[in-house]
């Protein structure tokens, strides 16, 4: 999933300063799960913005809408009625959600309310960690399903380095050494031979940016 965090209120207020009627759009998928931009977060942000503008004596009317996925144009099109009533849109989707809205309603200023941080998974309640950098040439078959590109501070392909410290990383003693995790996982599966191989430097341009994937319909 995509993990994001809400921008500070001050930054958001600066973006929408001067508008009298805006639409805040939430996304019902990734950012709902990471508590950054779902229906609830839309309601909280709009309440905060109303309070702040009342406090400053400014007029601000807010419409709210949360769609299943902002990154799908068909779903974004359903916002048309509401978008037509406002002067600007504030998206609480990830960056891949903001852009389809901006593309489908090119006359409308669309602003991001979130900072999109990484692709990851929940570690515990309210905690998410980065697990994949979308490198385009997945290496997980060799590492027992643990990504060293992201989870090893040095992105080593032939770890661990000399700094591995009782399962922790020398760069940050709070963080697990990815290569210790990989070793233990492969050991558990009787696949330690994978550790004994040398992996040559990889092509980090497997995905030419901006990435594009074309597939025939199934």
């Amino acid at each position: 999933m995509i993990v994001a965090e809400r921008k500070p209120l001050e930054d958001i207020r600066e973006m929408i300063a001067g508008y009298k009627k805006i639409l805040i759009v939430g996304c019902g998928t990734c950012v709902t799960i990471c508590w950054a931009g779902g229906e609830k977060e839309v309601a909280v942000l709009s309440s905060q913005l109303r309070l702040a503008s009342k406090k400053d004596g400014n007029e601000l009317e807010i419409l709210e809408a949360t769609i299943e996925r902002q990154c799908e144009k068909e779903l974004v099109e359903a916002l048309k009625d509401k978008v037509q009533q406002v002067e600007a849109v504030l998206s609480m989707g990830c960056g891949a959600g903001v852009q389809p809205i901006a593309e489908i309603f090119p006359d409308m200023p669309v602003y991001p309310a979130l900072n999109t941080t990484f692709v990851g998974m929940p570690e515990g309640e309210g905690v998410w960690v980065e697990t994949c950098r979308a490198c385009g040439d997945c290496f997980l078959d060799k590492t027992g399903g643990i990504c060293p590109i992201v989870r090893c501070a040095k992105g080593l392909l032939n770890g661990p380095c000399g700094g591995t410290n009782n399962g922790k990383c020398e760069i940050d003693s709070e963080k697990d050494c990815a290569w210790t995790l990989i070793y233990r996982r492969l050991e558990q599966q009787g696949r330690l031979d994978a550790m004994r191989k040398y992996y040559p430097p990889r092509n980090f341009q497997a995905v030419i940016r901006p990435g594009k994937v074309e597939t025939l319909p199934a």
Partner: protein, 141 residues
């Protein structure tokens, strides 16, 4: 705007039906008075009080909000009071971000028979909010 001395704050008190609401009742039957400007809202559990309920109270012009629930370990619904405490903490931060003093929202715990504690909390909070003055949202200041 009225002078500070004449300011009668609007305070909303979300009261858990298992404890605080009964404590308010106990205060009444013991003839202990508490400020009439505290508006008691009965909720099935402090854990029912959502961040949005509190924010909306401020949007509607409350000067202060109280969330009153059961003592720790005594919640009828096990962890409603803990949830409420976390939410009050969250609202505190959200209000600060808006530029409203986070101290305008507070949580206390009490038992159903603690009528005098209820009155004491109500009086103390009333004084504190008077000290802070009207909500900046209300006055548009």
């Amino acid at each position: 705007m009225k002078a500070k001395g004449a300011f009668l704050p609007d305070i909303v008190a979300f009261c858990c039906a298992q404890s605080a609401y009964q404590a308010a009742d106990t205060a009444g039957s013991m003839r202990i008075t508490y400020p009439e400007n505290i508006r008691v809202i009965r909720v099935p559990c402090a854990g029912r009080v959502d961040v949005l309920h509190i924010l909306r109270a401020f949007e509607k012009g409350a000067d202060g909000v109280l969330v009153l629930g059961c003592h720790e370990e005594a919640c009828r619904h096990l962890s409603g009071n803990i949830r409420a405490k976390n939410r009050v903490q969250r609202v505190n931060t959200l209000l600060q971000e808006v530029g409203i003093d986070g101290k305008r929202v507070e949580m206390f715990t009490l038992a159903p028979n603690q009528g005098s504690r209820f009155a004491r909390i109500a009086n103390e909070v009333n004084e504190r909010i008077k000290e802070l003055g009207p909500s900046p949202v209300k006055s548009g200041a």
